[in-house]
Symmetry: C2
């Protein structure tokens, strides 16, 4: 295992030290609960937004804390759900009287622990909590850690859109309804060229032959649809885009926010090359790209590979996308 770490047991806590050192002007850290807060949280009258999950997917979620996006991110151990105590602490802390939205990726442990925290927060502190469970991965119906579809790339776009809505003063009902609409409009699929190594495990999560790729990979290395021979970028783009387009479905005249996301170990030059292929396929299908992201936004440690996410976008979504955001991972207009 070749990693820039000290003790594998300390990776998450020590990365938080670096986050605070780098972004202490905007963020503060609760080291006891491993929560990254927007420095000025809670904001009175603003709906509080919390996400979280296993670590190892950075910049998700801690990199999306800040004005225009999340109020808090709860960091589990690498590829491990955060526990209810963390989520409860964050829920209580960010409530500014307007209630709190939990943004949950659909993995069994995450869903269960967020639910428990919501119940405890309601009972102990009378915080009104809603939640959205993101389940956008078209690859497989159930998975290693998931009943139903896995939550992946749409989470990034949802956190941006819902973050803008909360910032503008919308109510908890409105923000929760928007979150559901974004999730319903988003679909993703990914592939892996290599595995990744969880520090505490010390060896690759799975094995993949030199001439193979895993189509429909999960962000923790969960099995996808099938192993296929290593394909060209052109073929790979089609293998990802076709299942997405037929699923929602998306069609001629639709407009989308598109993301070509790296899994952590794929060079940016390859991600731009892939984006060119995805763009061509959408153009052929008569689908317009209103806004896009190309880069590493929801990763799986050092895994090589990429995913494609499309969120069908009306004018409201595009306006929310364009609103100012000031986080370590996404920043514009601020």
């Amino acid at each position: 295992m070749k990693k820039l770490i000290n003790d594998p047991a300390d990776v998450v806590a020590e990365a938080l030290v670096g986050m605070e050192a780098a972004h202490g002007d905007r963020l503060r850290i609760d080291y006891e609960h491993k929560v990254i807060y927007r420095k000025d949280a809670p904001r009175q009258g603003k709906v509080g937004l919390i996400s979280g999950g296993g670590s190892g997917h950075e910049p998700l979620h801690g990199g999306y804390v800040g004005p225009g996006m999340l109020d808090a991110a709860c960091c589990g151990e690498v590829f491990t759900s955060p526990v209810p105590d963390q989520l409860l602490a964050a829920t209580t802390e960010v409530d500014g009287g307007a209630g709190v939205l939990h943004i949950v990726k659909n993995y069994t442990g995450d869903v269960m622990n967020f639910e428990m925290a919501a119940e405890l927060a309601a009972a102990e502190s009378a915080v009104e909590v809603r939640s959205v469970v993101v389940d956008d991965d078209v690859a497989v119906q159930d998975s290693l850690y998931t009943a139903g579809r896995r939550g992946v790339g749409t989470t990034v776009i949802l956190e941006k859109l819902v973050g803008a809505a909360a910032e503008s003063g919308r109510s908890l009902d409105e923000v929760a309804a928007l979150a559901d609409r974004v999730n319903a409009a988003g679909r993703s699929m990914g592939l892996a060229l290599t595995s990744c190594t969880v520090p505490a495990a010390g060896k690759p999560t799975f094995e993949l032959g030199e001439d193979e790729m895993e189509l429909g990979i999960g962000i923790h290395g969960e099995p996808g649809r099938k192993r296929v021979p290593l394909a060209s970028a052109r073929e790979a783009a089609q293998l990802l885009v076709d299942p997405i387009l037929t699923d929602l479905p998306y069609g001629t005249g639709d407009s989308v926010i598109a993301m070509v996301n790296g899994m952590g170990g794929t060079p940016l030059i390859e991600l731009y090359l892939m984006y060119g292929e995805v763009h061509r396929l959408l153009e052929q299908a008569g689908i317009g790209i209103a806004r896009c992201l190309v880069g590493n936004y929801i990763t799986s440690l050092e895994m090589a590979g990429c995913s494609v996410t499309l969120v069908k976008a009306d004018d409201e979504f595009v306006d929310l996308w364009d609103a100012p955001v000031n986080t370590p991972g996404l920043r514009w207009g601020a």
Copy 2:
């Protein structure tokens, strides 16, 4: 070789297609010369800023084209200098009557080809050209493709500071003098945990044992100072920071712009952990960090590893750093 590409010969050109598809609102591409232009270049009366070099270091340089940074980036083949024709085309194109600054990383081919282009531009089109050669890598004196020190991470910070100065209307003399001052104030050093594979070569540039790292690595995989046993993040940070601090030197009371940069294949969680270590070492040395970057800013394809860059920064540098920038790779205040 596991890469998301089509034909290895087409990687650079096809990545440019993706760049234009993603950022066509701000950038335009000259496919014949493989140059990425700021869409509104040339700007009358503004000093034109050009950089370039081998591809495979993205987001450098194409990701730094846009308002507040570069006017053009010339893309060589992967790890190969751009040719004089490309550089000449860009120099002529971005001249808005105030002259052009070439920002050159110190590699023999780059220096030679930029010089040739500067002479041709002066002779053929009467464009006034100055150049700065960045040579900030403290690892080795001469290297595989370099007489003198290699140009690495300081290039990113220089392009930002000089970009802000050019945007504010400073003259060519002033911008060139600033570029020299930034280069003189910057030092870097890197290490690699793994090699990378150039698409056209199809096999790793070098071999490195499972228990080794290359200290002082170049961004093309050039040999560093020595191979050392794989170290902890704490030790690795010291091995990078100590040679930098003693070189300039930096000392108590100094203020710096600091970058912990990933080589392309190292997860962001490890880069933040490393930043925490670097921050601690600088604090111990009495050095303040005025601004910082943590992430993949000057890469070596999918190489695992990182580099540290420090630029000694006065108030002027910090003000230029904070000025608005709107590029694919760096964006704030815009």
